[in-house]
Amino acid sequence: MTSFNFDTPRLPAEALAERSRARDFLANELAEQRYPSHVTTWSSFDADFSRRAGAAGFIGMTWPKAYGGRELSSLTRFAVTAEMLAAGAPSFAHWIADRQSGPQILAHGSERAKREILPRICRGECYFGIGMSEPNSGSDLAAVRTKATRHNDGWRINGSKIWTSNAHHAHYLIVLARTGDAGADRHGGLTQFIADLSQPGVDIRPIYNLAGAHEFNEVFFDDFLVPEDMMVGAEGSGWDMVTRELAFERSGPDRFLSDYRLLVELIERVGNDPDARQAVEIGRLVSHLVSLLTMSLSVAELLGRGKSPNLEAALVKDVGTNFERDVPEVARRVLPVEPSVDREGDLFAQAAAQVILNAPSFTLRGGTREILRGMIARGLGLR
């Protein structure tokens, strides 16, 4: 029988307390007008914000105190993360490190990697990018061709990565590279490495997106040296680690709250007394959002208990990003708007513009809709 592993966890007292701290922190950020919340999202880079969030203890919250963390629960992290998203906090500087790179290093990294890197992530001073996609290996991740070969001074990496968000700001990339034979299932012979981008042998070139923003990069490695103790996990264990990492990457509230601020601006513009049609349209969106919050919290709880809810994570991302794509379309139906990035004083038009220009990425980044649906189909037993 098709059944999913979704539950309705309650947030423990610790999570409620931290959430309340996060709300106060963010209310202060907004009051001080530290960032333009109608157009910022988790993919807006703002190193100053990340340092303030780090100083307030909101990064690496679940990690051991010895590495700068606070040993709080994954549900507490969920609660705080959701607050950041709902407030449009410009979190991209620390987002990837906090969401997936840090947890990978904690689980599989060397002692030196943990000691040198994790405390800086927690302070909001150290940023990561994801080195998975390549020019000829996007959805087909197992086709990775970047090669790492063992030398007496460590590993030498040759090859290139693409669509690497943050690379031009990041201190490190975690690079997925081929270290051996792929094997029959094509999942063998892959290993992850922490690449210190301050070292020679790496060239980072910008790719501008259709909104005119520089988030993406192409990254070239030429005999780039990675010391032995900056390998993550055992040689050849990359595929399993990446699979688990993607469950973190896919199931979080960032997969359905990317344009939450547009919904907020829409409601502000509609006012307290919507007409029936407006109420129906907004109510439909909100009913989707409540369902997604519940699904995502449930996955966070399972991940926190060490489970691997890969099917549930794929469902959160597929349903969640479709919701994100729907928000601007509904907003346009509810209230006439001519979206504009620079119409002064018109927060709704600016928010709509920001979302529409970025929406294509929602259902591509972190695994395309088609890849996710393939995973879900596998979970249903179709493949």
């Binding site: 029988m1 098709t2 059944s3 999913f4 979704f6 309705t8 966890p9 309650r10 947030l11 409620l16 609660a79 959701a82 709902a86 939450y260 919904l263 907020v264 601006e265 829409l266 409601i267 502000e268 509609v270 006012g271 307290n272 007394d273 919507p274 029936a276 407006q278 109420a279 129906v280 349209e281 907004i282 109510g283 439909r284 909100v286 009913s287 989707h288 409540v290 369902s291 997604l292 919050l293 519940t294 699904m295 919290l297 449930s298 549930e312 469902l315 597929d318 349903v319 479709n322 088609e370 996710l372 649906r373 393939g374 879900i376 189909a377 979970g379 249903l380 037993g381 179709l382 493949r383």
Partner: protein
Amino acid sequence: MNPDTIAADDITTIVHDQADRLFRDLISPKLLALCEREPWPAEVWAAIEESGLPLALAPEARGGIGLSMAAVGGLIALAGYHTVPLPLAETILAQALWSRAAGTVPEGPAALAPANSADSVTIEPCADGYRLAGNSRSVPWGSHVTNIVVFARNEQREGFLVLVPGFMTWSTVSSNLAGEPRADVVLSGIVVPDSLVRPAPRELTHGLMPVGALVRAFQMVGAMRRVVNQAVEYAGERSQFGRPIGKFQAIQQQLAEAAGHLAASEAACARAASEVDGPDFLFFAAVAKSRAGEAAGKVAEICHQVHGAMGFTQEHTLHFATRRLWSWRDEFGGEAYWQEIVGRTACAGGGPALWPRLNAFS
């Protein structure tokens, strides 16, 4: 986990397993087809009553099983999965609500009224007790039950529950798309003694519609689970172009989309069940019915598409669940009705107030 929780989880599992076996034994395509001509399979109801399942939500002190709303939702979803052609969900609610209000469990199958957003019933004291006014259209099973639990308001807008014996009502019967009987019940002029009238329990501030909507949402989750299973199974069996159609990405993508709708509906129902005693139950019940109702249409569409012409025949069993989905989504309020409530609530406090409401989880 404390010992009480473990015990409660165990009891839930036992009840769910028992219900699954019972429904599997009792409900066949032949029975379902027969029920559409002759709508009350008395021996099936007798077996369900014998099992004690109608008492799932009634408090233990009143002889009930005392399950949580979430656990009862799971049971009701199973009834939806097996398309039980009887008012089990309504009776579970009626017995729980009346026993909470009056201290006794009413005998026999029961219906709930009003069951749509357009009807309301009023109540006023009279010499022999209380007199009702108003009619209630399309009451599920209203013509076949021992009692109808009616929600009525007096002139001061205070809510009451009234246990109206079925024999006192007069009704015109029609059927929903799955051939389940729906009755336009005339309540005006009915006089009931004091013993059949109770102030409505606190959780019924907004009448029976929110709880009715939530049980329909759970039923839809069960029926959606059924048709997704059927479609996955069929896609593995049916071959075209030399391979099972489930190997085609076009089919896989559609079924994955259906699974997403099902998963989101499950989550919305679970959330509403967990909020049943909270101040925002109306909002979360509205979310659940909106989400599951929207999903029901999409999931039925996809599962029919996957089944091809075979699924469109009377011979195939797919329609027992899909016709119920097409009816249940509109009973106890359709999507637009509940979405409007969600939307008005969302807008009432302005943009910044929405988030704390959605994300309470406390």
